[in-house]
């Protein structure tokens, strides 16, 4: 199957002004001007198949937004190639953008003082969406995103969650093949997040829309994405399944055992005790050195076990470790 997005050796460099600090900084900044080069995106390669749902991760300033801006044609790369659905995004702007949808987290595409519905109407004219398609899409999205309670309210009076739902709806009215979402759940409460996640999943599965989302919230990624890309300091560090990442860098797994009686010295080869709480003992063990089943076997041959649980490390923890310890470099 041909890929819908192909990115080759993508570079984006910026010049950034230096500011002085300290005692005479006011005068210094007034009279001098120095720049240094920032490689916001540095030699990134990836391909995305039609219908995939991709999570694009990285700490602040890693190059996520810059990549997304290049993919949507807002920025022209310094070097390398992008091909999206047969287009070079920064060229043939009008033709290209009518095939994609984009939501940039904090900013609304909607008209501030207009009721939501009238913004949609205006978008119908802008994208020249056929009347029938517009009605069909809007009816569907209204129900799924529960827009009806505020569809006649001016955008300025919406809550953040409502606004985000309206914005996502607006980005999809023209049936785009690809949807770019930049931090779609930022600042939302749990319920609102869940609703948006379900909707994204629906769009991806039901319509086969390719979705690329950047996020800080790893539960988004855990629930939605089968494949993730991790970028840091402009370089692509990881491209693959979430599960593999966990296995590779997940660190120690934990085995929590409830015994029938207290075994204060229940030592076992291949695992370390990290916590003893009455009859409950928590062990930690390396994923590579021993299988959980072996460990359980050894334990149950020596002690009486009531219940046990194998705990995978939290994904947030894993990714934080990757950033902090720079494990992928």
């Amino acid at each position: 199957m041909a890929s819908i997005i192909a990115v080759k050796k993508l570079d984006k460099h910026f010049k950034v002004r230096k500011f002085h600090r300290g005692r005479f900084s006011g005068f210094q900044n007034f009279f001098t001007r120095e720049h240094h080069l920032v490689r916001a995106v540095d030699g990134v390669n990836f391909e995305i198949q039609s219908g995939e749902l991709i999570g694009y991760l990285g700490p602040n300033g890693a190059g996520k937004s810059t990549t997304l801006k290049m993919l949507t044609g807002l920025l022209v790369p310094t070097g390398g190639e992008i091909n999206v659905d047969g287009f070079v995004p920064s060229k043939q702007r009008k033709e290209y953008v009518s095939r994609i949808g984009a939501v940039f987290g904090q900013r609304s595409t909607l008209w501030w003082d207009l009721p939501v519905f009238e913004s949609f109407e205006l978008l119908r004219h802008i994208y020249k969406i056929p009347e029938k398609l517009f009605k069909k899409n809007l009816d569907e999205f209204r129900e799924l995103l529960e827009l009806d309670t505020f569809i006649n309210t001016p955008v300025r009076s919406l809550s953040l969650g409502q606004r985000m739902r309206a914005d996502i709806c607006a980005a999809l009215l023209h049936d785009p093949k690809i949807l770019f979402l930049d931090e779609p759940t930022i600042g939302l409460d749990v319920v609102a997040k869940e609703r948006i996640r379900q909707f994204i999943q629906h769009i991806n599965q039901d319509r086969g829309t390719t979705v690329i989302l950047t996020t800080h919230d790893l539960s988004d990624v855990e629930k939605l994405c089968n494949r993730i890309l991790i970028i840091d300091e402009g370089k692509l560090l990881y491209d693959g399944q979430l599960e593999q990442l966990r296995q590779k860098f997940g660190g120690k797994r934990q085995l929590v055992v409830d015994f029938f009686e207290n075994y204060p010295e229940a030592t076992i080869e291949g695992a370390e005790i990290v916590e003893i709480n009455g009859a409950r003992i928590t062990f930690e063990f390396e994923r590579d050195s021993i299988a959980a089943s072996d460990l359980i076997g050894r334990l149950s041959s020596k002690y009486r076990i009531r219940d046990l649980e194998v705990k995978e490390p939290e994904i947030e923890e894993t990714i934080r470790r990757i950033y902090e310890q720079q494990l992928l470099k």
Partner: protein, 269 residues
């Protein structure tokens, strides 16, 4: 083209509706604009009570220049407010401009549609008011030709200053801090041609004749309509040149605007 006009109409009605939601602010702003222009003109008119004339022009005659440029600058400001460098720079920084780039229609049209400041009606009203005052005090002998010259003068002024707004908006792709300099061309330019051009030092006047052809926008049409002699001996059709001067500036500004967008897409902000 037809679709563009339809969209532009939509944009205008959207803007009108949102602005009328804040009725009190709207009235305040209109009233404020009227007073500001009136105050500036009053300062000159009051001083002329003691000084009698400026560059050989009476209060009523200067009022003709003053009224015309304020009316057309008001019209321009209303339709080109999307390009007003002060607002446009903000849109670029806030990412609104990115949103426009993500829509499949002409970008210039969208920036025009971004804002129509209907409260500029105040400046148009006071401009027309001062113009009427001028007509009453100078007893101009109107002919059809003079009316057409005035109409063309206004068209030229709108195009010229609209062009300069687009030029200024383009500058904000590079810098927003020094955008005030563009005020020299826009507000400075409109102030400049509110006075008879013969008062300026030669260098300044030549700059606004041969580099930026502002002298044809207001001064020559006024000379013709007021029936005053031309001190600079330009060809007798000079009073017709306003629309050409305006279109010239608009044309080059639009070229620069396209170049600016390309640059913006290669460096961001």
């Amino acid at each position: 083209m037809q679709n563009s006009i339809k969209l532009l109409n939509k944009y205008i009605s959207v803007n009108l509706r949102s602005q009328l939601q804040y009725r009190l602010t709207f009235v305040f702003e209109v009233f404020g604009t009227i007073l500001l222009t009136l105050t500036e003109f009053a300062a000159l008119a009051l001083v002329l009570l003691k000084f009698e004339n400026i560059g050989g022009w009476t209060v009523g005659e200067v009022a003709f220049l003053y009224g015309t440029i304020n009316a057309s600058f008001g019209i321009m400001d209303m339709f080109f407010s999307g390009f007003d460098p002060r607002n446009f720079g903000r849109h670029v920084r806030m990412g609104t401009f990115d949103q426009l780039l993500l829509r499949p229609i002409n970008i210039t049209l969208q920036v025009l549609g971004l804002e129509f400041q209907f409260r500029r009606i105040g400046r148009i009203m006071i401009g027309v008011g001062i113009l009427i005052y001028s007509v009453q005090t100078t007893s101009i002998l109107w002919t059809g030709e003079k009316a057409i010259v005035l109409f063309f003068a206004i068209i030229g002024q709108i195009a010229y200053f609209g062009g300069l707004f687009i030029f200024g908006a383009t500058i904000t792709f590079w810098t927003i801090e020094s955008i005030e300099v563009v005020n020299i061309l826009t507000y400075g330019g409109s102030d400049l041609i509110a006075y008879p051009m013969n008062i300026y030092p030669e260098l300044l006047r030549k700059f606004f004749t041969f580099i930026l052809p502002a002298i044809f926008l207001n001064y020559y049409p006024a000379l013709f309509i007021l029936g005053r002699p031309d001190p600079f001996n330009f060809p007798p059709y000079a009073h017709w040149l306003s629309p050409f001067a305006g279109m010239l500036i608009l044309f080059f500004s639009l070229r620069f605007w396209r170049f600016g967008i390309t640059k913006y897409q290669s460096t961001g902000t």
